[in-house]
Amino acid sequence: MKLHLLVSIAVLLVAFLPRHECRAIEPPGALPAPAHQPALQQQQHLPLLVRLGEEYFVRLGDGGRSQSVIPATSADATVRKALDLQLTQRLLQSKVDNLSRFVSSLAEPAERGRRSEEPPISLDLTFHLLREVLEMARAEQLAQQAHSNRKMMEIIGK
C-alpha cells in the first residue's frame, strides 16, 4: 500500500511539475541576419576582401625571409594582388627541411623535433580579418537555416 502511494506520488510529480515553455535554442551571441543579405548573395562572386571594405594587410614574402607589410585599399589591381594572399613559402622551406632531415637522420631528437614543429604551410591573416570572415560565415549559416526551415514548412504544408 505504502509502495503504491510512493509510486503514485512520484508519477504525479513527473506528470504535473511545471514545464518550461518550449523555445527555439539560440546559440549564445547569435548575430541577427544582416539587412543587406540579398546584396550579400549578389556579391558572392566579388572578391571577399573588397566586401570587407576596409584596410587589410598583405604579407608578400618568400622563403621565410623578412616580409614587407603593405596596407591595401579596395582598388582593383591591389585586390588582385591581395587575393594572391601569399601563403608563407614554407612549402619550399619544408622541402628543404625534408632533405636535410633525410641527410641528418642521426641528429638529436630534440633538434629534429624543433625543426619539424614549424608548420610547412600557414596563412598570414590578422585576427581582425579572421573575425570578419567568421562573422560572415555565421551570417551565411543563419540564412541557410532560415531557407531550410522555409523549405520544410513548404513540404509540410503540401
Binding site: H4, L48, L85, L87, P119, V133, A137, R138
Partner: protein, 325 residues
C-alpha cells in the same frame, strides 16, 4: 475482508489509470519536438524523398579565402591561376569536421596541391598546439596528391580544420562535401562566438585540452572539479600548481599557439563560485591539464569586452603587450 480487497482493487485501478494518463503524452521526457529534414523526409514516399534530399544539401562555390560554418558541398573552380588559397572550417564545440573529396581535377605534377590540416594555422602558429594534439605535426597535414583516392574522407580531431590549395590552370578545381559529426567529449575547441558558456570534461584521460576564444573577453569560471572530491591532497597550494597533475590555466596572447601564450592564472583545487578575469588580448584560452587519474570538469562563461572596458584596460597597463585585469 471483502471491503479491504475492493479498496486494494480500487487503488490498483487508480494507479493503472494514472499511469495510462501520464504515458498518453503528458511526460515531457518522452516527447521529441525537434523537426529535422531527416525526420520530415522519413514521412514521405521514396520518390519525393529522392527529389527533396537533393534540395537539402547546401551548395555554393568555394572562394580562395573562405570560412565555412555550414555543412554542404563546395566546389572550387579556378578561373585563373590561384596560388595561395585557404579555407577555414569551424563547427560547434561538440562537433568534428568531416571532409570528403567528391571530385578533384588538379595537376599534382605541375605543382597543384590540396592539403587538409587538422586544426587551424595562422601566421605559423597552429591550434591545437603540438602539446595538446594527439597526432604529430606531419600527420596533421593530409596531401591529396600523396594520398589520392586512398583517403577520400578526412576527419578532424576537434571542431576546426583548414584546407590549403594551389591551382595553376584555369578550369582545374575540386569539390568537397563537408559534414559535422558529434564529439561527446570535446577537448580542443575554438569558439565561434565572443560570448557563450561551456563545460569541459576530461573523463580519466591523460591529455590537455584548450578552449580558445579569439576575442577580448571577460571569462568567468563558475565551477571547477578536479580529482576525487574526497582527495584532501588536492587543496589550495600557496606555491601554485607546479607539480600537480591536474589543473586549469588561463592563457592570453596574440597568436593561435597555446604553447606560446602567457599563463595569467592557474587553478589546482576544486571550487564553485565565480572567479572572473578580463583579458584584452586577441586570444584567450582556458586550458585543462589532466593526469588521467580523475574525471575533471570545468564550467565557465565568457562575454565580449566592450570598447570602454578595453580602453580602461589599456589605460591601466603600461606594457606593450595585450592587456588584462
Amino acid at each position: 475482508m471483502r471491503g479491504a480487497m475492493s479498496v486494494t482493487f480500487r487503488v490498483h485501478l487508480c494507479f493503472f489509470l494514472l499511469s495510462l494518463y501520464v504515458l498518453k503524452g503528458q511526460s515531457r521526457y518522452l516527447e521529441e519536438h525537434e523537426i529535422t529534414p531527416e525526420r520530415v523526409l522519413s514521412l514521405l514516399n521514396s520518390e519525393l524523398k529522392r527529389e527533396l534530399s537533393d534540395e537539402f544539401v547546401y551548395r555554393r562555390p568555394l572562394r580562395c579565402l573562405d570560412m565555412l560554418v555550414v555543412e554542404g558541398q563546395f566546389t572550387f573552380m579556378a578561373d585563373r591561376p590561384q596560388l595561395s588559397c585557404a579555407a577555414f572550417f569551424i563547427g560547434e564545440p561538440n562537433e568534428l569536421i568531416s571532409i570528403q573529396y567528391d571530385a578533384a581535377n588538379i595537376d599534382c605534377a605541375g605543382g597543384d596541391f590540396i592539403k587538409i590540416f587538422d586544426g587551424w594555422v595562422l601566421k605559423g602558429e597552429k591550434f591545437p598546439s603540438s602539446q595538446d594534439h594527439p597526432y604529430p605535426l606531419y600527420e596533421r597535414y593530409v596531401d591529396y596528391c600523396t594520398t589520392g583516392s586512398s583517403r577520400r574522407v578526412i576527419r578532424s580531431s576537434q571542431n576546426v580544420a583548414m584546407i590549403f590549395f594551389r591551382i595553376h590552370s584555369a578550369g582545374s578545381g575540386f569539390t568537397i562535401t563537408v559534414t559535422k559529426l558529434i564529439n561527446p567529449f570535446p577537448c580542443n575547441v575554438i569558439s565561434q562566438t565572443p560570448e557563450g558558456s561551456f563545460t569541459m570534461v576530461i573523463p580519466q584521460q591523460h591529455k590537455n585540452c584548450s578552449f580558445s576564444i579569439i576575442y577580448p573577453v571577460e571569462i568567468q569560471i563558475a565551477e571547477l572539479s578536479l580529482g576525487n572530491l574526497n582527495d584532501v591532497s588536492l587543496k589550495r597550494s600557496p606555491w601554485g600548481c607546479a607539480g600537480t597533475g591536474d589543473f586549469v590555466e588561463l592563457l592570453r596572447g596574440n597568436g593561435m599557439d597555446t604553447s606560446k601564450m602567457v599563463p595569467v592564472a592557474d587553478l589546482c583545487y576544486s571550487f564553485s563560485g565565480p572567479a572572473q578575469m578580463k583579458i584584452g588580448c586577441d586570444n584567450t584560452v582556458l586550458r585543462m591539464v589532466s593526469s588521467g587519474k580523475f574525471v575533471n570538469r570545468v564550467t565557465f562563461q565568457y562575454r565580449l569586452l566592450h570598447q570602454h572596458e578595453l580602453e580602461k584596460l589599456r589605460g591601466n597597463n603600461l606594457e606593450d603587450f595585450c592587456d588584462m585585469e
